[in-house]
Structures are given as structure tokens and as C-alpha cells.
């Protein structure tokens, strides 16, 4: 138990920069470049932590508070979100609380974008708010469908491995994993929606919002963003692992805790590689076509909810 807690803390601190490193390395290799080492993001962050800040005269207290808020909310979210199978249980880990914590993070980021009085910030804030507005129903419905299976809104209970997945709920877990992955791509400003590598202010979403941040301030935001990436991919992995319990159960091979631990730590890195593949092969969508991409996520969420409802009624008839 204590070992689990220590491992969880280590993963929370170390995994996010490493994930960014893996994405960058894979992308570089796919472009026939050597690329920086995996641990480069650590050095980047440390450098930023040491640097002094340059802050616009236009800003108010909201600007710096926002980056503090970003990292604090993400740390609390990482504690209540079951993105690793061995995460210690926290009381009150409610799914609605989690989603509104993400909203709180977005609120402070959007305000800090407004705070500099830069035209880019306001434009990016508008786009970010629009993307997250369209994503919100998809994420809510997916998580509520998963909650429907467990008949509870506690995330710990939903992602609990004590029972294996039955055939009724297999489609729910699978579509939830796909839907959440599509949502995370849009939510994290990854490729089909936003290109994290361009530095053209007019096309960026996330980068344009944090254009004015520098030094420690920027480090906190970058770190929070990396944690967000890791926990969201971790959540997708947990959904897939739950789907996997169905297959192992069928062959009377229940997943043992050790393999679960290994899979849940390795899983996010697999998703990072997948992200790099997507970013190397796809092009960024035109802004007006972003809603079409999000519609796929929404469709997956509808599929998840419909299969949860139908699977639920079948399960109650057969038991």
C-alpha cells in the first residue's frame, strides 16, 4: 500500500514531462531527425523555473494567479482522477467535481489570456472556450455512461478492478476509450485541432493564450498542461484495461495487480506514441472544420450512453 502511494506520487511528478519527451522524440524519429533526449522536457522546465519573469504592464493579479491556479487544480485533479490502477482512494472523488475542476482551470486560463490585452489572447480564448464548449457534453456523457455501469458517480468506484467487465458493458468501455482519446486530442490542443509546434499567433489556440507567460509563470503552466495530458491519456488506458478484463475473464486469466500496474504505467506512453503518429501523418484541420472532428467524439459518447442503457436493461433481464 505504501509502495503504491510512493509509486503514484513518483508517477504524478515524473511521468508528465517524460510523456512530452516521448511525443517529441517519436515525432523527430518519424521525421528522420535524431531529436532531443527523452528527459529534455525536465531540463526545459528546470531552466524555466530558474528564469526571471517578464510581465506585461497591462496585467492584473489574475495573470499570475492563473498559473498558480492551473497547477493547483491539476494536482488536485490528478489526485481524484483514477488514471493509474494503483491510485490511492480519496473521499469525494466525484466525476462532476472533476469536470468542474477542469472548468475552473479553463476559467482562469481564459481570464489570463484576456489579461494581457493582446488581440491574440482574446482570439485564442474565444477559440478555446468554443472547443471546450463542444467537448463538454461528450466528456460528461462518456463519464456518466461509465458511472451508469457502476451505479455510482464516485470515480474510484467506476474504475474499480474488483469486478471484471461483462459482455453487456464491453462496447461502453471501448467506445468510452476512443471517445475520451478524441476528446483529449481536442482538449489538449493536439494535432487535428491545434498544432503545438507552429508559432504563428493567428492559428494557435493554447500557445496564443499563454503567449505572455515567461519564466516560472510559464513553467507552471507547461507543467500543468503536461499533467493534463498524462491524466487524460491515463484515463483512456484505464478504460481499455477494463475492456481487457472481459477477455482475460473469458479465458479465466484475471489480470493480476502487478501486470495492471505495469500496463497502466506503460499505457499512457503508448498513447503518446500514437499521438506522435497522428501528428506526423495528419494535417491541422481548418478552424471551421473543428466542430466536425468534435462531432466524432460526440458520436462516440452517444454510442457509449446508448450501449450503457441497452446493456444495462439486458443485464437486469438476464440476472
Amino acid at each position: 500500500m505504501i509502495f503504491d502511494n510512493i509509486l503514484f506520487a513518483a508517477c504524478t511528478v515524473l511521468m508528465p514531462p517524460l510523456m512530452i519527451g516521448v511525443i517529441r522524440k517519436t515525432k523527430a524519429r518519424l521525421q528522420n531527425r535524431m531529436g532531443a533526449r527523452f528527459e529534455q522536457p525536465f531540463h526545459d522546465l528546470l531552466k524555466l523555473f530558474k528564469k526571471h519573469q517578464t510581465i506585461s504592464k497591462t496585467t492584473t493579479w489574475i495573470f499570475q494567479l492563473s498559473s498558480a491556479m492551473n497547477i493547483s487544480v491539476m494536482l488536485i485533479a490528478a489526485c481524484i482522477l483514477p488514471w493509474l490502477s494503483f491510485k490511492p482512494h480519496f473521499a469525494g472523488d466525484d466525476l462532476f467535481l472533476l469536470l468542474y475542476l477542469f472548468a475552473l482551470l479553463k476559467y482562469s486560463t481564459l481570464l489570463s489570456a484576456f489579461d494581457c490585452g493582446s488581440p491574440f489572447g482574446a482570439m485564442a480564448a474565444s477559440r478555446e472556450a468554443h472547443v471546450s464548449l463542444l467537448l463538454e457534453p461528450a466528456i460528461f456523457v462518456i463519464l456518466v455512461s461509465l458511472g451508469f455501469i457502476a451505479k455510482s458517480t464516485s470515480l474510484g468506484a467506476i474504475f474499480d478492478f474488483s469486478t471484471s467487465c461483462t459482455v453487456y458493458y464491453l462496447p461502453v468501455w471501448l467506445s468510452a476509450a476512443v471517445g475520451l482519446f478524441l476528446c483529449s486530442l481536442a482538449e489538449l490542443s493536439r494535432m487535428p485541432v491545434d498544432d503545438p509546434n507552429t508559432h504563428l499567433e493567428l492559428t494557435m489556440i493554447h500557445e496564443a493564450m499563454i503567449l505572455e507567460n515567461s519564466g516560472k509563470n510559464l513553467a507552471l503552466i507547461e507543467y500543468a498542461h503536461a499533467i493534463r495530458l498524462t491524466v487524460l491519456y491515463g484515463l483512456c488506458v484505464q478504460c481499455l484495461l477494463h475492456a481487457l478484463t472481459f477477455f482475460t475473464h473469458a479465458q479465466h486469466l484475471v489480470l493480476d495487480p502487478t501486470s495492471l500496474t505495469v500496463l497502466s504505467v506503460a499505457g499512457p506512453f503508448a498513447f503518446a506514441v500514437l499521438t506522435a503518429l497522428i501528428e506526423s501523418t495528419l494535417v491541422k484541420l481548418q478552424w471551421r472544420r473543428v466542430p466536425e472532428f468534435i462531432a466524432y467524439a460526440l458520436t462516440m459518447s452517444m454510442f457509449a450512453s446508448a450501449s450503457a442503457l441497452i446493456g444495462g436493461s439486458y443485464a437486469s433481464h438476464h440476472l
Partner: protein, 659 residues
């Protein structure tokens, strides 16, 4: 007579006497004295609500006061105490806020009349809440309607206010007519005017119940009857808007509980209609709120959204009761009541802050403000608290109440009653998620545009912070918002007495509240403070102040920023068919692609409901009026023949009836 009842009576008499003195007073009226009277009354109401919580007491006015067919009868219990407490808090807040605010209105309005009307407005609202029979209810309902209509028309010089008052009066007339009809009907069925003798569980009462529902939806600004609300709220002075949005539209929530739920409404069609209206109101209200550039209009539309959310809670409670799930019924009712209180508080705060911005920056048009955060730091903090609460972000009170409503939707979906019901719950959760996304966009836009960035006009350049008393008026609801957010279990234990009043033997809902908001709030504040104070601002020498990145173009002017319209444009494009959104931009100049000399952009949003639904109805009545004009030819002979024909027709009718 218990203390609560005595205090209520005393407050009403005290307010009436104050009105009398204010009317008869020859000299100039001191706003401070009137505000002190208001504050004293508010405190008395608060005490009366606190002491009346555990009571169930009915009392009647003494002999000379009698309302023709029924006595002036009052009743106080936990439900009415809750709403009296809300009114009391709003009253105390506006009593602090008003004197500073009214100084700016001296030339525009008749302030003596204003004060008298405000007192009557509050008397009316308290009277509606404690009314025990239909006649008393109607009397105070009309006092509220007339006082608020006159208050909307305070600034008679402006055509906007006249039009708003006219539309509002029209809406209240329809509402009152429906109520009178329904009350007469129910009286005919039960033979009694007292609310506690009415029973709506019978089939014969579906139509009067529907009439009451429509009447209350009109008064509460629920879609599709909300059209009056975006006119009325912005036209009224800020303290009145705060009272209207914070308390007056909550009267209909109170009345829905008292007149529909407590007599046992059980018609599935009406319950389902309530849910649908709630869902549509929530979405419609916040979508239009996002498009507004007038701060008060934006807040008014957001009230429609929140009324929708409350209605969702109430209809869920009724559905759960219909399927005989007492725990869920109590949970949803507690959620709806809690959201009612929360919305009353944060909307009161936001409207007062809007008033402060209006008088300090001389405009509330979002295109003309900007960068007020440095000039009005206190208002900014309070407004930010208000927007955090209205976006229902943790750890504030808005989140707790919305969580209860989400939780009821979720539990209803899991209850295995029917696949369709579960599906409806899932859809409602999806829509509520969309609504909260829109609310987030709407209120970050408001806060960001008003307080952050640079000033967009000379009006907001010269803005200064409002008076400390005006700030105190906004701080009272703000403190209540934060307090209620972290003390939700306590509130739930208090709301329990209302739940068991409405549904006999309602089980305790407090154990269902599994969130640890105190813990979340504490860790959030702790982490943020540590990082902000010690890490980011630890060494001031390490922070360099510089100008915002301007692409090397030189000085950034106030106009080189995102505007409210450009922020909303992204959303408007997505919902263009619903909003009837049109954007036309003209770029002029010789080489207009690269060196434009003039750029003009025009956007238009049409109220779909007004143009497509209410427009044709109004047109029909105008046409009908034109047709009727033929009868009024101006000739005495014709009029005399009308009288003759009427007499003959009446005699014939009498003969037929006698047969």
C-alpha cells in the same frame, strides 16, 4: 403569536409608515435614512425567517381588514422562511448599495417615488411568500407586479424604459388573468380559498394546474414566456434589477412548490412539460446571454438559464415522486431550492456590480469598457466571485447546488424505471454540460472584457472605484456565496425540514452529499496562496514589467484588443441558424486587401421567438383592432343602434335561458 409572525407584521407596518412619512415629508429626502429603514426592515425579516424555521403557524389580520370573500390570512413555515430569508439578504445588500448609487440618478428619476415603490415591492414579495389563501396571494402578487412595473419605468424620459414597462405589464396581466381563472376554478372544486385545502392529484384539476403553471412560468421568465425579462431587467435601476432577478422571479419557484407540488400535482404530462421547459430555458437563456453586449441584458438572459436549471430540479423531484422514490424526490427538491437561493444571491451580487460599473464607468456596454480592474479593484474581486458562482465552479455555492441536480439526474437514470426515462436523463445531462460550457464562455467574456486588458473608450478611462458602502452591498451576497459553498452539509440539514414539509416522511438527503468541498476549497486556497505569494511573487526584483507583445508594431491602443462581439462570433457561427446571426463586413480602400483604409463590421442577432412567434400574434391583434375600428364610425345613430341591438340580444338570451 410567535415572534416570527410578530416581526413580519411589524416590518410590514414599519415599511408602510416609512412610505407615509416619505410621501408627506416636505424637505428633501435623505437617502441614508431611507436606506437605514430598509436595512432595519431587512434585519427584522432575517430574524423572523430564522425564528420561523421550525414553526407552522397561520394567523389572520384583525377585524377591519377583510378581503371581500376571505380574510387576510398568513402562514409561516420552513418553506416561506427560506424565501423570506432570501428577500431579507437581498434587502440588506441593496440598502447598503442604494445611497451611493442613487446619487447618480438624481436628475433622471423621481427618487421619492422610487423609495416608496421599493418598500411596496418588498412588502408585496413578503406578502406573496406568507399568503395562506388565494385572495391574499393575489393581492400581494398584484402589489409586486405594479410596484415593479412602475420601478422599471423610473426613468420615464427614455423610450426603452417605457417600452420595457409596457411589455412587462402585458406579461404580468396575462399571468394574473390565468392565476385568477385557475383560483376561481379550484375554489369551485374545493369550496375553499385556503391553499392547504386544495388537492391537485385529481384528474379534474389538470387544466387549472396547467393554468397556474403557465402563469408562474410567465412571471418566472421561463422559455417561451421569457420575452419580457431581457427588456425589464436592464431598464430598471440596479438595486431593483437585483431584487427582480434575485427575488421576484423566485416567487414563481416558491409558488410552484406551494401551489402545485404541495397540493400533490401528479399529471405526468405537466411534469414532463416542466422538465422540457426547464431544459430549453437553460440552453436558450445562456445562448442569448453569450451574444449580449449590454452587461445587464447578459445577466438577464443568464437568469432565464438559471430558472431553467431550477425547473429541471423541480420536475425531477416530481418525476421521482411520481415513480415513488422518496429519497430522490427529496434530493432533487433540495437541489432546486438550494440553487434558487444561490441564484438569488449571486445574481443580486452581479446586478449590483453591474450597477456600480454603470455609474462609475458611465456605460455598461461591453464594447466601451475595458481595463476597469485597475481602477475598480474591489468591484473586480466581487464580480469575479459572482461569475465563479454563476459558472458553478467549485468550491462556490453554485457548484454544490448544480451537483445535487446532476446527482438527481444520474440517480434517476440509474433507477431502471424505463429506458426512455434514462435516455431523457442522459440527454438532460448532456444539455446541462453544454449549458455550463456556454456559461463559462459567457462569464469569462464579461469579466475579461470589463476588467482586464486596456480601456476601450474615454468613459472607462476616467472610472473610479465606487463608495465603500456600495462595495459592502456587493460583499454581503459574495460572502454568502463563499460560505454556502463550503457549508453545504449544514444547508442540506436545514433544507431537510422543507423536504419533509413538501413530501411527508422524506428521508434524509444529507448522507448523499459525498463531496468534501471544505477539503477541496482548503487545498486549493492553500496551494494557490503558497505558489502565488511565495513562488511567483517571492522576489519582486526578479519580475520585469514590460509592454504586451505587439509584433513590433509599436504602441497597442485600446481598440487593438479582442472585443465582446469578436469573442462571441465563434459561438454565433456555430449556432447561427438558431440565433439568426448575420455578419457583414465591408473593407474599403484602394488596395483593400493589404492597406485597408476603412473597415466596418456589422453583426445582427434576431430574437427568433419574437419575430416568428410573438410578432405574428401581435400583428394579428393589430389587424383585429383595425377591423374593430369600422364599428367606431363616430356617428351617434350607429352607437344608439348598437345599444338597441345589445338590449334585444340580451332579452332574447334571457328568454332562451328561462326556457
Amino acid at each position: 403569536m410567535p415572534l416570527a409572525a410578530t416581526l413580519l407584521d411589524a416590518t410590514i407596518i414599519f415599511f408602510l409608515l416609512t412610505c407615509l412619512v416619505a410621501t408627506l415629508w416636505r424637505g428633501s429626502l435623505k437617502h441614508n435614512y431611507m436606506a437605514a429603514a430598509l436595512c432595519a426592515g431587512g434585519l427584522a425579516l432575517l430574524f423572523s425567517a430564522a425564528s420561523g424555521w421550525h414553526l407552522q403557524y397561520t394567523w389572520q389580520a384583525a377585524w377591519p381588514i377583510f378581503l371581500a370573500v376571505a380574510p387576510l390570512s398568513n402562514h409561516i413555515d420552513a418553506l416561506s422562511s427560506l424565501f423570506v430569508a432570501l428577500i431579507a439578504l437581498a434587502t440588506i445588500s441593496i440598502s447598503f448599495f442604494s445611497p451611493g448609487y442613487l446619487q447618480h440618478l438624481e436628475k433622471k428619476c423621481n427618487l421619492r417615488l422610487y423609495w416608496v415603490l421599493v418598500f411596496f415591492f418588498i412588502i408585496g414579495m413578503v406578502g406573496v411568500i406568507v399568503a395562506a389563501n388565494a385572495i391574499t396571494f393575489l393581492l400581494f402578487w398584484e402589489i409586486v407586479a405594479l410596484a415593479s412595473a412602475l420601478l422599471i419605468a423610473s426613468d420615464l424620459a427614455s423610450n426603452e424604459c417605457k417600452r420595457a414597462a409596457f411589455i412587462y405589464l402585458g406579461a404580468t396581466r396575462i399571468s394574473t388573468t390565468l392565476l385568477i381563472g385557475a383560483f376561481l376554478w379550484l375554489h369551485a372544486l374545493s369550496g375553499n380559498w385556503d391553499f392547504n385545502t386544495w388537492n391537485l392529484s385529481h384528474h379534474a384539476t389538470v387544466i387549472p394546474a396547467a393554468m397556474i403553471m403557465v402563469a408562474l412560468c410567465i412571471k418566472g421568465g421561463v422559455w417561451p414566456f421569457h420575452s419580457w425579462l431581457p427588456y425589464a431587467h436592464p431598464a430598471a435601476p440596479a438595486p431593483v434589477s437585483a431584487l427582480m432577478s434575485g427575488c421576484m422571479i423566485k416567487m414563481s419557484i416558491y409558488a410552484i412548490i406551494r401551489l402545485l407540488i404541495m397540493p400533490g400535482l401528479s399529471s405526468p404530462i405537466l411534469i414532463f412539460a416542466l422538465l422540457v421547459l426547464g431544459v430549453i430555458s437553460a440552453f436558450w437563456g445562456i445562448l442569448y446571454a453569450l451574444m449580449q453586449n449590454d452587461l445587464k441584458c447578459l445577466l438577464a438572459y443568464s437568469s432565464i438559464e438559471n430558472m431553467g436549471i431550477i425547473l429541471i430540479g423541480i420536475s425531477l423531484s416530481l418525476i421521482a415522486n411520481y415513480y415513488n422514490m422518496p429519497l430522490l424526490a427529496a434530493l432533487a427538491l433540495a437541489g432546486a431550492l438550494f440553487h434558487t437561493i444561490n441564484h438569488g444571491l449571486f445574481k443580486c451580487l452581479l446586478f449590483l456590480a453591474a450597477g456600480a460599473i454603470d455609474v462609475c464607468a458611465h456605460t455598461r456596454n461591453l464594447e466601451r469598457v475595458g481595463g476597469l480592474g485597475k481602477k475598480m479593484p474591489g468591484t473586480m474581486i466581487l464580480f469575479t466571485i459572482g461569475t465563479l458562482a454563476v459558472c458553478s465552479l467549485p468550491p462556490l455555492n453554485g457548484f454544490s447546488s448544480k451537483w445535487l441536480i446532476y446527482q438527481s439526474l444520474f440517480r434517476l437514470a440509474c433507477a431502471n424505471q424505463s429506458l426512455i426515462l434514462s435516455g431523457v436523463c442522459f440527454v438532460s445531462i448532456g444539455v446541462l454540460a453544454l449549458v455550463s460550457g456556454l456559461a463559462l464562455a459567457c462569464f469569462t467574456k464579461a469579466t475579461g472584457i470589463i476588467f482586464l486588458g486596456r480601456s476601450r473608450s474615454s468613459d472607462s478611462d476616467h472610472a473610479t472605484e465606487c463608495t465603500p458602502f456600495m462595495l459592502a452591498g456587493q460583499a454581503i451576497p459574495a460572502v454568502a456565496c463563499v460560505g454556502l459553498g463550503v457549508s453545504t452539509p449544514w444547508i442540506l440539514s436545514k433544507l431537510q425540514s422543507i423536504c419533509s414539509l413538501v413530501y411527508a416522511n422524506a428521508p434524509s438527503v444529507e448522507p448523499l452529499y459525498t463531496l468534501r468541498m471544505d477539503f477541496v476549497a482548503f487545498s486549493l486556497v492553500f496551494l494557490v496562496t503558497i505558489l502565488y505569494v511565495f513562488w511567483l511573487n517571492g522576489r519582486k526584483s526578479e519580475i520585469r514589467s514590460y509592454s504586451t507583445w505587439d509584433c513590433g508594431a509599436g504602441h497597442l491602443s485600446g481598440r487593438m484588443q479582442g472585443t465582446a462581439t469578436s469573442f462571441a462570433d465563434t459561438f454565433a457561427m456555430t449556432f447561427a441558424p438558431l440565433l439568426q446571426y448575420h455578419l457583414t463586413s465591408v473593407i474599403g480602400g484602394k488596395d483593400r486587401r493589404h492597406f485597408p483604409e476603412s473597415i466596418s463590421v456589422e453583426t445582427a442577432v434576431t430574437q427568433l421567438l419574437e419575430t416568428r412567434f410573438y410578432g405574428p400574434i401581435a400583428k394579428f391583434f393589430r389587424w383585429l383592432g383595425k377591423c374593430m375600428q369600422i364599428m367606431q364610425a363616430g356617428s351617434v345613430h350607429l352607437y344608439l343602434s348598437y345599444i338597441l341591438f345589445t338590449l334585444v340580444a340580451l332579452m332574447l338570451a334571457g328568454l332562451i335561458v328561462q326556457r
